[in-house]
Structure formats: C-alpha cells, structure tokens
C-alpha cells in the first residue's frame, strides 16, 4: 500500500507525465473544455426553462419530475446509446453531460424563483412594472444565489462525469482511468481519479468563494 502511494506521488509530480499530447496538462485542458462547454450548453437550455416555470408558476410538476428522471438516467448507458446511434463524434459526450446538468439547473432556478417573496412581486407590479421588468429586475436578482448554486452543482457533477469521454475514445482525465484499467496499471488509474477529484473539489471551493463574495450583502 505504501509503495503504491509512493508511486502515485511520483506519477503525479513527474515532469514528463505533465508534458506532451498524452500529458496531464493537455488532458486537464481537454477535461475542462468538455465540462465547461457542456455546462454552458446546459445553462442555455435550462435557465430560460427554469425562469419561465418559476415566473409563470406553470409546469412545476414537470420541473420536479424532470429532476428525478435526470437522477435516474444512467449516464454510462446514455453515452453508449448515443455513441451507437451517432458513431465516433463528440455527440455522446455532450448529450450525456448536458442531460446530467440540465435537471440540477432547472430545479434550482425554479426553487430560487419560487422563494421570492410574493409581496415583493406584488409591490413591483403595484408600482407599475411590466411582467418582463418584474422578471428581470426583481425576481432574477433575488433568485440569483440559488441559481448560482444550481450552476455550481451542475458543473461539479459534469466535471466528475466527464471521465466517461475516454470510454468512447476521447481525451480528458478519464483517459488515465480507462487506459490504466485496460493495462492493469493501478498507479495510472489512481492518478487520473485523484486529478479529477482534486479539480472537482477546487472548482467547487472556488465557485462557492466567488458566490460568497458576490452576494456578501445578502442574507441568503
């Protein structure tokens, strides 16, 4: 066991391991690229839906069921399914990661919108604000902390799951995990897993710090 961790440490800090197209630096960049793009696409789909459901109060049933459906959907199965349907392309990776991220963003956006005090909305309307003004100038700013939480949750889950890109022969840090499993090279497998875990934790901490800094003046 001690030997294993010593080798793992050596693997993680070795200079040649970090450079080149198979190097950690390149795989890390790929991993972040998949994760950020997938989360952005998911946000572009999920934010309008969550805002609309929250603003109109209609379709809440849909939002809640969507989230439990999303939780139940096995990501590995989805990746393989899209892979078999579309062949060698980036589709399987992005479809699976976006499907993973959308429910978290929709439900948190919706939760943020419903948490806005109805009296505040009434007051805004009473002052003569139009529907879109109430939405963008009152509800959205008040719901923002929870919306940010949803985006953060989604990004963390996506970073953790982007490992599967390597399963359908793409890059990212999952490369080490799957190549290592195939080559029975435990050090490489553990190295990949540790790197994914570390960037997930670091991103989570960074985003929650950013969130706290942005909303310092709010009780939420």
């Amino acid at each position: 066991m001690y030997e294993l961790f010593k080798n793992l440490g050596a693997w993680l800090v070795s200079g040649e391991q970090w450079s080149g197209p198979d190097g950690i630096a390149h795989r890390l960049a790929e991993h972040l690229q998949y994760s950020l793009l997938a989360t952005l696409i998911a946000a572009a789909i999920a934010l309008p839906v969550g805002l609309l459901i929250g603003h109109t109060g209609r379709g809440a049933f849909l939002a809640i069921n969507l989230s439990s459906f999303g939780r139940a959907l096995p990501t590995v199965g989805l990746v393989v399914l899209v892979f078999l349907a579309s062949g060698l392309s980036m589709w399987p990776v992005y479809v699976a990661l976006v499907a993973l991220a959308v429910p978290a963003i929709v439900t948190n956006t919706y939760a943020g919108m419903t948490a806005v005090d109805p009296e505040v909305k009434d007051a805004a309307r009473g002052q003569g604000m139009r529907a879109h003004q109430v939405l963008f100038q009152v509800e959205l700013p008040l719901a923002l902390p929870l919306i940010m939480t949803g985006l953060r949750l989604a990004l963390i889950q996506v970073v953790a799951t982007a490992t599967i890109a390597a399963y359908v022969s793409f890059g990212g840090l999952g490369r080490y995990v799957f190549d290592g499993l195939a080559q029975r090279d435990l050090v490489q497998v553990l190295g990949g897993a540790v790197l994914v875990a570390v960037i997930a934790v670091v991103l989570d901490l960074a985003l929650s710090a950013l969130q706290r800094a942005l909303f310092r003046h709010r009780p939420a």
Binding site: P74, V76, G77, T163
Partner: protein, 215 residues
C-alpha cells in the same frame, strides 16, 4: 436503431438476474448509508461544532467522481461487490446525512420539552418523538439516495460489477444497441418503482401528515 426483441426473450433469465443484482447493490448502499448517517446526524444535530465538519466532509465526498471512488477503493477491496457497495454508500451519505440533520432540526423545541416534562427519557424522546417527526424529511433523503444509487450502480461496470450496467459494456463492445436500450429502460423502471414504493411506505409510516391536509 432497432430493437431485437428476440434477444430480449432469449435472455430473460440473465436480465432478471442482473436486475436483482443491480437492486441488491443499490439497496445495500442505502441501508448502510442510513446505518452510518442516522447516528452521525444525531451527533451533528446535538453538537453544533461537529455539524459543519460532518456536513462539509460529506460534501467533499460528493465532489469525488463515482468512478474515482470505485477506483480509489481498488487497493482496499479489489474488483468485488464490496467495492461497489462501499462506493455507493459514500455517495448516499451526503443526501442522507444532510436530510436527517435537517429533519431533526425541524422538530419544534416545545414538542421535545413537552416530552421531557412528561418524564420521557432522552433516548425515548429521540426514538419516539424526534425521529418520527423528522421522518418526512429523512424519507425525502432516502428517496433521492435510492434513485441516485440505482442510477449509479451501472458505473461499477468499469470495475467488473455494475448489475444492469454490464449490458452497457456488452452492447458497446459488440456494437449492439438492444442490451443498452434494455439496460437504460430497466434502470429507469427500477428507479420509478422503488421511488413509488418509498412514497407508499412514507404514507403508511406518517399518518399524521395526512390528517393535517384533510383538516
């Protein structure tokens, strides 16, 4: 993408066995998750300084990717069912611990004081007053943890287990969509049925929440 129905009928026995194995892994994880988080939640609820530490720790576990948890356990428990169950249990802890603590928090202080004033001992207050009243919130956590575990079991296919997840590897390696579709459908079905059953269990266990709604 076409489904070969004959493959399904020809493998009914295998599919049933994989489904049972899948469910067994997921339910064991929720069982052990509850076994660990119930006492921890009581501690976190009573001792304030420990609360942030325990909840924070479970949050960190959650940010570790599931495949990484399984892989990190390989030196300890190898390519076994034990690895699958430990990995999944770690994942259930976040939801179960948080919800149980929140459930215990939601019990009104007056109710606890009333029970104590009537001479009920602390352990009995916990078991017969606090836990039952916290049950709706705890059960919400159990539902999320169960559905999540059922979906996550398939990740263990990378370490040679994974219940229905084995259908994904099988279909992927043979470029054959039918097992993959069947695996996804059965996983969703298991999750839906398990969730519905838990709703029914909660309904039976918490009759007082229904009376309130009727009034």
């Amino acid at each position: 993408m076409t489904i070969e129905w004959s493959w399904i009928s020809g493998h009914a026995g295998d599919l049933a066995a994989l489904t049972v194995s899948h469910l067994q892994a997921a339910l064991s994880a929720v069982f052990f998750g509850l076994l660990i988080s119930l006492p921890l939640a009581v501690v976190a609820h009573r001792i304030r300084p420990l609360r942030g530490f325990l909840l924070g720790l479970s949050n960190v576990f959650f940010t570790i990717p599931s495949i990484a948890i399984f892989v990190l356990l390989l030196p300890v428990s190898g390519l076994t069912r034990t690895t699958t169950v430990i990995g999944l249990t770690v994942y259930t802890l976040v939801v179960l611990l948080r919800n149980t603590v929140e459930g215990l928090d939601s019990v009104p202080t007056r109710t606890k004081e009333a029970a104590t004033a009537m001479g009920t001992r602390p352990l009995r207050v916990l078991l017969t007053v606090e836990l039952p009243l916290a049950l709706p919130v705890i059960m919400a956590g159990v539902r999320i943890a169960t559905v999540m575990s059922i979906s996550l079991v398939s990740v263990a296919t990378y370490i040679g287990d994974g219940g229905l997840g084995q259908l994904f590897t099988d279909g992927f390696q043979r470029n054959f969509p039918t097992p993959v579709l069947v695996g996804v459908a059965l996983t969703l079905l298991l999750a839906l049925v398990a969730d519905a059953l838990l709703v029914a269990v909660q309904h039976v266990l918490t009759p007082w929440t229904r009376q309130k709604r009727g009034a």
